[in-house]
């Protein structure tokens, strides 16, 4: 078994608390370097026990500031924290400006916090392809709690639920009428709603609308999402926010939902990995093998249709 094998040096360094090694391997994972895959594999058995808190919500609602305050709260509670904050990459240049650090304050000598900015690198859904792997590295590095800040999300940027054990959806007053809260998408993934900028007028209405939504009854697994009002300028509600998150984490343990959720996430990850691999192989063969090329040509000429070609290809690849 993997656990019995000695760890590769970089993995050992990460486990022993070497932050430089952690930072370097994170880059290697982002860059899909082969060396990182072996480190990630070796560390995998040590991961999966820590709460991973996803913080998502539209642009400008204060996700970074909420995270900043949450980290301070967790440090007061003597819990160590690893943070990954994702910002978008430019579709034009591939570059990005990662600005989530600006909101981040902490004692510069505090080894109990690690903050990493990450570009989405072409991924949609609010996180980067490497985000999940990076949360595992932070887990293996021994941080008690892992926080993931998504890209400012739209209504269907829901990928955070593929990495987080608890999803916090941050909103602000006046985002829209109560019909917005009935819509599918973002509002469905929240385990905790955080109504931020609660010092602004309209916060009560936003809370009430959410309470009504939550009161309609949840589809999911017996957890009724908590609603917390916060302000980060004159901090308030942050303790309540953490309590609500913890309540959800306790619920996961009490009901066995943690294992069921993790099974769903791991299964989706495996499917995704296979999809990626098969897709790559298929693309390669479609370019190289004359017979397969001909099928595509015939679909272009309308003498075959794409579904029929797909059926044939699936058979050719040995699946059904």
């Amino acid at each position: 078994m993997t656990r019995a094998r000695p760890l590769p040096p970089a993995a050992r360094a990460i486990v022993s608390g070497d932050r430089r090694a952690l930072a370097r391997v994170i880059s290697q994972v982002e860059n899909r370097e082969p060396s990182a895959a072996s480190v990630a594999r070796a560390l995998y058995p040590r991961t999966g026990k820590k709460p991973v808190i996803g913080v998502t919500g539209p642009l400008g609602v204060g996700k970074s500031s909420v995270i900043n305050r949450l980290v301070a709260r967790l440090r007061d509670l003597d819990r160590t924290v690893g943070v990954v904050a994702v910002d978008p990459s430019s579709p034009y240049s591939g570059g990005s400006v990662l600005g989530d650090r600006i909101r981040f304050e902490r004692r510069v000598d505090d080894a109990g916090v690690f903050f990493r900015s990450m570009a989405s690198r072409g991924e949609v859904g609010g996180i980067a392809a490497a985000t999940r792997e990076v949360t595992r590295l932070l887990d293996a590095a021994g941080f008690d709690v892992i926080l993931v800040e998504t890209v400012g999300s739209g209504q269907v940027d829901l990928a955070v639920r593929d990495v987080a054990t608890t999803s916090v959806v941050v909103l602000v007053p006046h985002l829209g009428d109560e019909v917005q809260t009935l819509k599918a998408g973002l509002f469905e993934i929240a385990d905790v709603f955080c109504v931020n900028k609660a010092d602004l007028p309209g916060a009560d209405v936003a809370r009430r609308d959410l309470a009504e939504l939550v009161g309609l009854g949840g589809a999911r697994s017996g957890w009724r999402p908590r609603i917390v009002a916060t302000s980060t300028t004159q901090p308030s509600g942050i303790e309540e926010l953490w309590s609500a998150i913890e309540a959800h984490e306790e619920f996961l343990d009490r009901t066995g939902a943690r294992r069921a959720d993790e099974r769903r996430r791991v299964s989706a990850e495996i499917v995704e990995l296979v999809r990626e691999r098969v897709g790559r192989e298929l693309t390669r063969r479609l370019e190289r093998e004359p017979e397969l090329r001909r099928w595509v040509d015939r679909a272009v000429e309308r003498t075959l249709d794409p579904h029929t070609v797909a059926d044939r290809l699936a058979r050719a690849l040995g699946s059904r």
Binding site: R19, R24, E30, S93, G95, V97, G99, R101, I102, V108
Partner: protein, 138 residues
């Protein structure tokens, strides 16, 4: 996992040490580097040398850019270089921009600041230099 043939984006930390609040220049440079394909970690105003070095290490950057207009460069830049050395991270090149007199610039370059850009430098020159420095380190 190896798949991309495209080179991975270079990462650069842009930070403002010192107490002045003039970050227009730093933001313009950050944006130009973004448009050149860099992943720019923008650390913002009033960063201490300790904060800058810690951010550079956590973010595993290939390059550090410092912007300063307060006049404290002779105190703060060498401090950043010294801290990098202490962390055995001197391989991360550091460039700087701002109001820096020629005599100071000469001394800072001798101390290890790899490039210094004064007012009026073209963005193209900054980007080209940043690419060269970052690639040399990456």
């Amino acid at each position: 996992m190896a798949r991309t043939t495209k080179p991975s984006p270079l990462r650069v930390l842009i930070a403002k040490p010192g107490l002045d609040g003039h970050d227009r220049g730093a933001k313009v440079v950050a944006r130009a580097l973004r448009d050149a394909g860099f992943e720019v970690i923008y650390a913002g105003l009033r960063q201490t040398p300790e904060e800058i070095v810690r951010a550079a290490l956590e973010e595993d950057v290939d390059l550090i850019g410092l912007s300063i207009l307060s006049g404290a460069h002779m105190a703060l830049f060498p401090k950043v270089l010294a801290l990098l050395k202490k962390e055995r991270a001197s391989s991360i090149p550091v460039f700087a921009g701002g109001i820096i007199p020629d005599e100071d610039a000469r001394r800072l370059k001798k101390a290890g600041i790899r490039a210094i850009f004064g007012p009026g430098t073209s963005l193209e020159e900054i980007v080209t230099t940043a690419q060269r420095l970052a690639r040399s380190a990456a």
